[in-house]
Amino acid sequence: MKTRRDFLKLASLAPLATAFPLVGEAATPFSGKFVVTVQARGAWDVTCFCDPKENQRGELPITAWSKNDETQTAGNIKYAPFANNEAFFRKYADRMLVINGVDSLTNSHSIGETVNWSGRTALGYPTLTAMYSAAYAPNLPMSYVTFGGFNRTENLVRATQLGWSVNNIAELLRPNYDNDRSMIDSELWSLVKQLHKNDTQSLIESAPLTAGNRSAREAYLSSLRNMDPLGEFADMLPARDEWEPNSSNGNLKQQAQFTIAAFKAGVSATADLTQGGFDSHENNDSEQITNLNELTAGIDYLWEAAEEAGIADRLLVIVGSDFSRTPYYNSAQGKDHWSVGSYLIMEKGKAYTNRYVDGSDEGQNAIKVDPETLKPSGFGTKMVTSHVHTALRDYLGLSNSELVSGFPFIDTQKFNFFSNT
């Protein structure tokens, strides 16, 4: 360490250095729910998962497993005896709200992702998670984390995009430091960053920049103001050899590891996790087994990590896909695209869980459901993704947010998914 430096005194003489305060930029600690979506990309087969269907006499086989087996139940939740479902559903049934029979209104992957994660088929709406971060935690350094998939923010918040290299990130989040040694004096480095902030703020205020240039500078400024907590977060990340290994179709466990660490560290409020590989046009069952196993293992890991971190009580997990797969096999023993799918919503210790909304018939067609009782009803309404999003917005307190009012769902029936009874 050096002797007491003069440079802060020097800096105070700088004409531009005094324009803005050196302190007072810390974000308010976030104390709300942590919201995670798990995007099963490529379209899962819910008849082999949370919307089990058995073969019907006179119809094409809908599931191979039902030739020799029956639908299983854990608590109030039905599930298919397939892959590692049993362990998963038995362990988490009391944390689950299963909504079956949700029509994605499309057979296209890209639109399927759009409608499932923004609530409508047309582009232009953000993800629920982006909205939530923007509404409740806009200044966290990585408020909205995404590992790919559909992650539009519509300029509400800047998404932190992560990929396969999360296990490298820790050593890179502490600029000017290698282990605990600084490359230049830490106070001097702070001064450098402060000057960057001052310069940027001045330019934004004084120059008639184009909107794109202004926005880019605002992003830089915002990043500088909010990045400091990342140093501590880096210390909480696993060491290189402590990261979970990649699986065959992704790194869902790594994503979960990272996400829980980010929540625990207070640097993030939402995350979109992804796992690809569900597009099983050939050999549906073997493809789905592999991927459902990885999916449920990843979700299980997420919950276990949350428990260990002491934040499981604040975690809300929404699992979904582009849509589902046909209620019959094609000639390659695969299944093609089918618009009627499911959502799995998970939370710990809530009255609305251990609930199963049976919105599809035996042929995997959407049927009408009473919005209040959530039971099939000829006077009810067929469910679409906007119904689920509307309910989630209400549940998360977003519906009345001015921020969110710009993305309304018109004439959407309210479904009572989150009632306590």
Partner: protein, 1126 residues
């Protein structure tokens, strides 16, 4: 600054469309509100009794006007009785933002200097009645503000003017978007009477993306929540361009309407069209009034997306394009050659060649095609590429098999980009990206795929050449020669390889085919979908919304052929899928030798009868190969036929321009906004339309030769690349939606090239013996804002705290290495710090580095330096710069030691002042913090001893002139490293560092100014605030280092190993080879750090803190917004 020259004087189509799109919404019916009634005054002070009444007509209340409001300001003049029946002239003046403008006869405003002489009427020879109405403005105000209006008139025979002594005032506030909230009767009529009954029922059958009338300028959208609105806009645009008469004629089958008669003149639909067209005609083009006093003739002018934009200087465009295309800064010659737009164009064109340009193309093409995300470009488990297969099969006895396969895969993931680069660089018709009857191969690929290109042995795999596959065999031309269980068998050829391999540019690119694989049910539809998307600009998935009624989709009678809800897309998609008929799921051309059909189709597992017939190449239950309404009947090279059809489509050219949008501008191309009620819809639509107009324009630059360089030059010359500032915020919302502006966040690869080119540093990048590179820029691609071509496929365009944090680490880790690299070379050879030396410190009056030629402690030598001084207090420092100790854990086995006998200062007058070596005045008073051990101390032998560090003493210079400082010294050397001791003398001023204006201080500021220019591309004068600020960083760092504990002869924690080329660049080949080795069979280097450390040590020595200070400056520079963006 470069002003945008072509101000649009006619309203562009987007603006009209945006205005016409207002449908319902929040607007009010237009109403008229008086804002002022003013009795006249006269210019000569005489009495008058005329009255002026000014009124605002708008859809908004007069006190709630915004920049998006349509405003009509009118004045009603009630002349005094004596003026009625006379002829008069009328005047009006507006005060906006403190400036005066007069209304002119053409309805525009021009600056007024305030004098009567300069005032001109906007209406002349008016016969004055009891009331006379005039319109003063009719349109939108481009900027918010308060507007003061004055009106006057004069009559013939009178020299005086009657005017409003007080202004009529109205205020306009900023609108958050670009809505036109006025109710459009035309739009309402259209939605109510035409959208469902006519457009969706009839017109849409052909006038839709990909439909038979796809080349018509009238394109509708299928039903969705916004189709009525968008279709109305489409109709309006068509009418504006072609006229209502043409539309009505075509509807009734006239004017060669290919669709024949759709509506008779007496039909309800036709009459509804007539009404809508009449109502459209009644709408006027909005005018934007801008009062900004600019030198180009301020006043009312019609504004559009680009008219309020000011471009960056040409030099900035050249710099940014050079970094983007060449990964370097422009040379002086290149800079000096750019003196006009024409020369800038020429300079840009010259950048479009060479390896760096090709890398730009390859990266850009991958951003679209994502071939880097291909997992298995060539399935070598099969024997079709016989030579490669057998080599791979022999892996157990030849471990290079998988290595070769890996190289081939790596090459195949690049070939799409290499093909496009080859076409562009060689100025071949751009259509050749699809029609090429060859592919690009490097040496390895050419060898193992048995290509036709010629490579010399010294040409590495970074070189790609056109080549044709000649080593591909069908199954029936091969015979197994060795069966190998649990491994690939080996084969031999018993027939001929395929002659005339049917290359068709990107369509047969193995990376492309494998990135979008086919299956038994997909049947090449994914390949077709992306072919439409990339090469015709048609997004089939978004072209039609699926019905919500599952009953309409529940039939199983081959719905893609028969169900209208499915055929809407599949009629377009499936013929193109059919053109891929010869390419199977393993990317083989008729892998089984006869066709590429899947076995499930040909031989159903359930025993049902297949429609397949011997000789079929395509599915009988799908549409025949083709494109739109054109069939492909040829069977062997169907993709080449498809390519010919695609490149003949006009949409290929616009798709080509769209393809290059993101790579050139660094921003995504917007999707067409779909829902009118969305927030900011008007702004999004305006931005989208502006982009589409630009694309149309860029595609036109391809010209008949289809020269892509011409198109790219146009793109780089456009405001989309170089728009820097705005003169008004009229289109701010639309600009925001498109992130319009010159600044681009550098991609990881661009940042890598920039840092390497400007600083020399290859951050966390290491070469391998094979010539390949490991780079964190690639490994961290997503974390740095890039893509992985799999899950993350779109680049970040703005920073997040995480990205910023990592980029700051990039800056801090690179900075000290960059400085060490600079000081490793003589000043004249440095790229950045060429103006200063290590001794160039603000306080230093004189500095000299010396070698002490003493061989042992008894070998006393006198060394000296001269210093030209003026009177004043100084400090003299003698620093021992190469101390070393061979530490065995408890003591120094060997150590260099400096022995000081005396130090003498000889003034210009000859007066001498001598300190003996043990004089306590020359030792810092207990400032050492090096574990409590002094590095220099007095000895009982009357001498001073130094094991490192420095001694100092004060020099109060009372004379001006040359001072001489002598030291009598001896050195103990290390037997194992017998280099002489190295010393540095410095004479420093003791005044406060920030107040110094010594030549060195000036030089440092000049150097900082130059760093701004080189690293940021910004001009900051040496006496500017910005330079002063960075100078303070330098000074602060220098003081901090000099006041340190004396242990920091090297940078603190400077991680030179983070730069994989550091030693390669700074040491000789022999020196590098003295410590590097390659493990057997490995592809990495092992370094002997005992040797390497010794060789590199000198570059990071920093005895007087200069390198540390410049490191702080470099950290500032490399972490600055202007470094991370170009």
């Amino acid at each position: 600054m470069r002003a945008l020259k072509s101000l649009a004087l006619t309203l562009s189509r987007p603006a009209l469309a945006a205005s016409l799109l207002a449908l319902g919404g929040t607007g009010f019916a237009a109403s008229t509100t008086p804002i002022a009634t003013i009795e006249s005054a006269t210019t000569d002070g005489s009495a008058s009794s005329s009255v002026f009444q000014l009124s605002v007509t708008s859809g908004q209340l007069a006190n709630a006007l915004t920049t998006s409001s349509d405003i009509e300001l009118s004045v009603s003049i009630a002349p005094q009785r004596s003026h009625r029946g006379l002829v008069g002239d009328v005047y009006s003046v507006v005060v906006a933002d403190g400036k005066f403008f007069k209304l002119t006869q053409d309805g525009s405003y021009s600056p007024w200097d305030g004098s009567i002489e300069d005032l001109t009427p906007f209406a002349t020879n008016q016969n004055l009645a009891s009331t006379n109405s005039f319109t003063l403005l009719d349109g939108k105000m481009a900027a918010p503000g308060s507007y003061l209006y004055f009106v006057a008139y004069g009559v013939e025979g009178e020299s005086r003017l009657l005017y409003t002594p007080d202004p009529a005032q109205f205020a306009v506030t900023e609108s958050s978007s670009l809505p036109d909230d006025s109710t459009s009767q035309a739009a309402e009529t259209f939605e109510a009477e035409l959208e469902t009954a006519v457009v969706q029922e009839k017109c849409i059958q052909c006038h839709v993306e990909g439909g038979l009338a796809r080349n018509s300028s009238l394109q509708f959208q299928r039903t969705n929540t916004a189709s009525a609105l968008n279709n109305f806009a489409a109709l309006s645009a068509f009418v504006e361009e072609k006229g209502a008469d043409l539309l009505l004629a075509k509807i009734t089958g006239g004017e060669g309407h290919a669709g024949g008669m759709q509506l008779s003149q007496d039909s309800d639909g036709y009459q509804a069209f007539e009404r809508v067209l009449a109502e459209i005609n009644a709408l006027e083009n909005p005018t934007y009034y801008a009062f900004n006093g600019a030198g180009d003739g301020a006043g009312a002018r019609q504004a559009s997306f680009l008219t309020e934009v000011t471009l960056e200087p040409r030099a900035a465009t050249l710099r940014r394009a050079t970094l983007l295309l060449q990964g370097r800064l422009p040379t002086r010659l290149e800079q000096e050659a750019v003196v006009s737009d024409a020369t800038l164009r020429s300079a840009l064109r010259n950048l479009m060649q060479g390896p760096a340009f090709r890398e730009f193309i390859v990266t850009s093409v991958n951003d679209r095609l994502l071939t880097e995300g291909s997992s298995n470009t060539l399935n070598t488990a099969y024997s079709h590429f016989l030579k490669l297969h057998n080599h791979k099969a022999s892996e157990s006895i030849n471990d290079t098999g998988s290595l070769v396969e890996g190289k081939v895969h790596e090459g195949l993931r690049r070939t799409s980009g290499e093909l496009v680069a080859y076409v562009i660089e060689n100025e071949l018709p751009y259509s050749e990206i699809l029609t090429a009857d060859y592919m690009m191969m490097n040496n390895t690929m050419n060898t193992w795929l048995e290509g036709t290109a010629s490579f010399s042995p010294d040409e590495g795999d970074e070189i790609f050449k056109p080549s044709v596959v000649q080593g591909y065999y069908h199954n029936d031309a091969l015979e197994e020669v060795e069966f190998r269980e649990n491994s690939n068998s080996t084969y031999r050829a018993i027939g001929e390889p395929l002659q005339n391999f049917p290359h068709a540019g990107l369509l047969t690119d193995f990376g492309f085919l494998s990135r979008y694989p086919t299956t038994a049910t997909n049947r090449n539809r994914a390949r077709a979908r992306w072919t439409f998307y990339h090469f015709l600009g048609i997004d089939i998935e978004k072209s039609s919304q699926r019905p919500t009624d599952e009953a309409s989709l529940s039939d199983r009678n081959n719905p893609t052929m028969n169900n209208p809800n499915c055929t809407v897309c599949h009629a377009l998609l499936d013929p193109v899928a059919g053109a891929f008929q010869n390419w199977d799921e393993d990317n083989f051309y008729r892998g089984n030798g006869t066709d590429a059909l899947d076995g499930f189709y040909k031989y159903p597992q359930d025993g049902s009868r297949s429609p397949y017939r011997q000789g079929d190449l395509w599915y009988r239950d799908m549409r025949a190969p083709g494109l739109f309404d054109q069939k492909i009947t040829e069977r062997e090279t169907t993709l080449r036929s498809l390519a010919e059809l695609i490149v003949a489509e006009p949409a290929f050219e616009t798709a080509s321009a769209a393809f290059w949008w993101s790579p050139v501008f660094g921003k995504p191309l917007l999707d067409k906004p779909a829902v009118e009620s969305d927030n900011g819809y008007a702004a999004k639509l305006a931005a989208y339309r502006a982009q589409q107009d630009a694309i149309e324009s860029f595609s036109g630059a391809l010209g008949p030769q289809m020269n892509a360089k011409d198109m790219l030059v146009d793109m780089f010359m456009s405001p989309w690349f170089s728009g820097e500032t705005v003169t008004s915020y009229a289109f701010d919302s639309a600009h925001f939606e498109s992130k319009f502006g010159s600044d681009q966040l550098l991609t990881p690869q661009q940042l890598a090239r920039k840092t390497r080119a400007l600083t020399g540093v290859a951050w966390r990048t290491r070469p391998r013996p094979s010539g390949r590179e490991d780079s964190y820029y690639d490994e961290l691609a997503v974390l740095l804002g890039g893509i992985d071509s799999e899950a993350v496929t779109s680049r970040a365009i703005e920073l997040t705290p995480t990205m910023a944090s990592i980029l700051m680490t990039h800056a801090t880790e690179s900075a000290c290495v960059a400085v060490a690299r600079q000081f490793a070379r003589p000043a004249g050879e440095r790229s950045l710090l060429s103006l200063i030396e290590e001794s160039t410190q603000p306080q230093v009056d004189a500095f000299e580095q010396l070698t002490l030629p003493s061989k042992n402690e008894n070998d006393w030598q006198t060394v000296a330096m001269d210093a030209e001084l003026t009177p004043g207090l100084r400090e003299v420092a003698l620093t021992f710069t190469n101390p070393e100790c061979d530490w065995d854990g408890s003591q120094c086995v060997e150590q260099r030691v400096l022995w000081i006998s005396s130090l003498t200062v000889i003034a210009p007058s000859g007066q001498r002042l001598t300190y003996q070596g043990n004089d306590t005045r020359i030792y810092p008073s207990n400032e050492w913090r090096n574990g409590g051990n002094q590095n220099c101390h007095t000895g009982g032998d009357g001498l001073g001893h130094c094991y490192g560090g420095e001694i100092k003493f004060e020099l109060n210079a009372r004379e001006s002139g040359k001072y001489r400082i002598e030291a009598v010294l001896a050195g103990r050397l290390m037997p194992s490293k017998p280099e002489f001791l190295e010393l540095a003398f410095a004479v420093k001023t003791k005044a406060p560092i920030l107040s110094l204006s010594t030549p060195n201080a000036q030089l440092i500021k000049k150097q900082i100014s130059q760093l701004y220019e080189k690293l940021h591309g910004t001009l900051r004068a040496p006496d500017s605030d910005e330079v002063a600020q960075v100078y303070e960083i330098f000074a602060a760092a220098l003081l901090a280092e000099q006041e340190g504990d004396g242990s920091d002869w090297e940078f603190e924690n400077c991680q030179v190993w983070n730069d994989g080329y550091y030693d390669w660049d700074l040491l000789s080949k022999e020196e590098v080879e003295s410590y590097k080795s390659v493990p057997p069979g490995g592809d990495w280097y092992q370094d002997d750090w005992r040797i390497k450390g010794q060789l590199l040590h000198k570059f990071t020595q920093d005895p007087i803190g200069t390198k540390y200070a410049w490191t702080a400056v470099m950290m500032y520079m490399l972490s600055h917004y202007d470094y991370l963006h170009e």
